[in-house]
Amino acid sequence: MANDYDDLRQIKDQTQEDFATEIDYAYQTRRGLGEDIVREVSAVKGEPQWMLDFRLKALDTFMKMPMPTWGVDLGLLDFEEFYYFMRSTERKARNWEEVPDAIKDTFERLGIPEAERRFLAGVETQMDSESVYSSLKEEWQRHGIIFVDMDTAVREYPDLVREHISTIVPIGDNKFAALNSAFWSGGSFVYVPKGVDVEIPLQAYFRINAQNLGQFERTIIIADEGSNVHYIEGCTAPQYSTWALHTGVIEILVKKGAHARYTTIQNWSRNVYNLVTQRAVVEEDGSMAWVDGNLGSGITMKYPAVVLRGPRARGEVLSIAFAGDGQHYDAGAKAIHLAPHTTSLITSKSISKGLGRSGFRGMVRVVPGAVGAQSKVACDALLLDPESRSDTYPYIDVSEDEAQIEHEATVSKISEDQLFYLMSRGLSEKEASAMIVNGFLEPFVKELPMEYAVELNRLIALQMEGSVG
């Protein structure tokens, strides 16, 4: 239901104060990658030996792995072109004048408060709302919930990190996971103790700083038995980045009877390659949901996965992608059924506009013995222009007779009759198309917290006008 949320925003705006950072010195490695860089990064962060070893091993793996030759065109990607580590204060050096007008204009039209605009554009490195954050922090501590950035986790909870890192996404899972393991910086570490229900979603937003928006975010979430947690990463507003390569790894362990949900809305600027590995392992009676919105970046490869390891485990992947001119998404979802009576539901909605292109790979695997496994894959594509493109690639590998797999795919266009109907009530063609598109995305949007939902609808309208920077 539409509802005004302006007031909420204003309150949030007023409580925003800068939050002093402990790390206050500038640091930047040379351009390109190599063992020297890995050692430098680890030394600057003051990491223990085991983490340095982890990084070095990952670099070695990365060097040996070939580039993926499927999905998207990575031919222009030159690893020597990038910086692999930069301290937050470096980014602060950028000033507001350097931010492209198109991005500023979008902030303006989305009604993003001033303080947030500067942060999102990378001009400010902090935007924590200390008062909101600290009261929540006390609450979390009282329940034994750990919610810190990964660097802090390595320092303060080394055993937990060491026990879990790369157990769900192995270093050599894919070339970009290896790259992330060698150079990771930023990301969150979350641990929710047995039986604890985290009522308010944990938002990276609360404790975000420039590093978390960095190129190699690493996030680990552990939902211990019977717990319940919702983690939200990213925001709907466009994030301007001069870093052209973003390679994140997110690992989630959902233990017996626990429920976890990870919501992300990605809206990087168009110069960005976004290559992310997201995977969750779900134990007996647990459930995991990936809610994944993709609006920005130029080239994206992303296939959130659920590995259903215990009986009756459930996994859900709900994703949307909006590919405008010059954007190419190769997205998808994987469900791997390793135990009896596991269920998965994969729903994908993609919109392609102009020359935008979106591809969806839906992969379902059921191993022998996973009796009674059920999976449903539904992907709907909406093409806004004659030259837009969408492809669906189902990969279904079922080795268990007693499994039930459904797959359906639809491709549609905005219907002339729907447009006419809405326009006959006074909506312009753009407003009418945006409304139809928002309706198409509604099954996704209604899973979002309200403030994200409202912003997303507005953003889609802007994207429909082709005016998002």
Binding site: D6, F420, S424, G426, L427, N438, G439
Partner: protein
């Protein structure tokens, strides 16, 4: 948007082709402010084609003639521009729009018609909802209208026309009309699908709006029962793509009693 209160709709020798075939073959008809015209004719004679054409559906190709609203040609205007000039069409078969609630749609449409988007753009108001009628105000207005039409408020949360019964769709069309306050309304078989009580409630709604707005009405129907409530001063027989005969309300009874066979003989069409 400033609207002249009363509007006259003038259709002159209109010829329209659909997929290469001429369906309207010279329609001429004038609806003045406050007047009620009934348009009756056999299935497939082109009544809906006329109503879609008037509203500007892109599928209908105009090959001749003119449509004027207060002397200004509508033919080059898009459907939304026609709507903003005061034209409304209650459709025979309203389409559904999945994922868009009736409330969201009504608020957006009413806001667009009342110039909220324009105003926000002009004043540079960037707030998230600046282009919409304030939620509280609109909620009240909708609740009042929905009450008059004896509709259930739960409809507001349903997706537009999706899974609505035939009669529910027709009521929703009239709800839209009540909120958008047109000057000229075309009702294309609004009575079909309505039960006996609904027919009365909807008709009363239409009459009330007509009295309030001085609206001109073009009512397309097959049956007298609607015209017992919404009383036309002019009745037209539509046959094979044009108006072949016009008379007063007494014509309705003749049609009801005799059907259309005599039309061919008498008017040689």
């Amino acid at each position: 948007m400033e609207q002249t209160l009363a509007q006259t709709l003038e259709i002159r020798d209109l010829h329209v082709r659909v997929e290469g075939k001429e369906i309207l073959k010279g329609v001429t008809l004038t609806v003045r402010p406050g007047e009620t015209h009934a348009l009756m004719g056999p299935n497939g004679s082109g009544k809906s084609t006329l109503s879609y054409t008037l509203m500007g559906h892109p599928k209908y190709e105009i090959v001749g003639g003119e449509v004027l609203l207060n002397g200004e040609s509508l033919l080059a205007l898009s459907p939304d521009e026609r709507a903003r000039r005061g034209l409304f069409l209650a459709m025979q078969y309203p389409v559904s729009v999945p994922g868009v609630t009736l409330y969201t749609f009504l608020r957006a449409a009413a806001s667009a018609m009342r110039g909220y988007g324009e105003a926000a753009r002009r004043s540079g108001d960037q707030r998230l909802h600046a282009h919409l009628i304030p939620a509280r105000e609109f909620r009240q207005e909708v609740n009042a209208e929905i009450g008059k039409l004896k509709m259930d408020q739960a409809f507001l949360n349903r997706y537009l026309n999706e899974g609505f019964s035939g009669g529910e769709k027709k009521r929703a069309e009239i709800l839209q009309m009540a909120l958008l306050k047109p000057r000229i309304a075309i009702l294309d078989e609004t009575d079909s699908g309505l039960d006996i009580d609904a027919l009365r409630i909807v008709s009363e709604g239409v009459n009330r709006l007509q009295a309030e707005l001085g609206m001109g009405l073009l009512v397309i129907t097959h049956y007298q029962r609607l015209l017992n409530y919404i009383r036309p001063e002019h009745v037209h027989i539509f046959y094979n793509g044009r108006v072949v005969h016009s008379a007063g309300p007494e014509l309705v009874e003749k049609l009801e009693a005799q059907g259309y066979d005599w039309v061919q003989a008498e008017f040689g069409v």
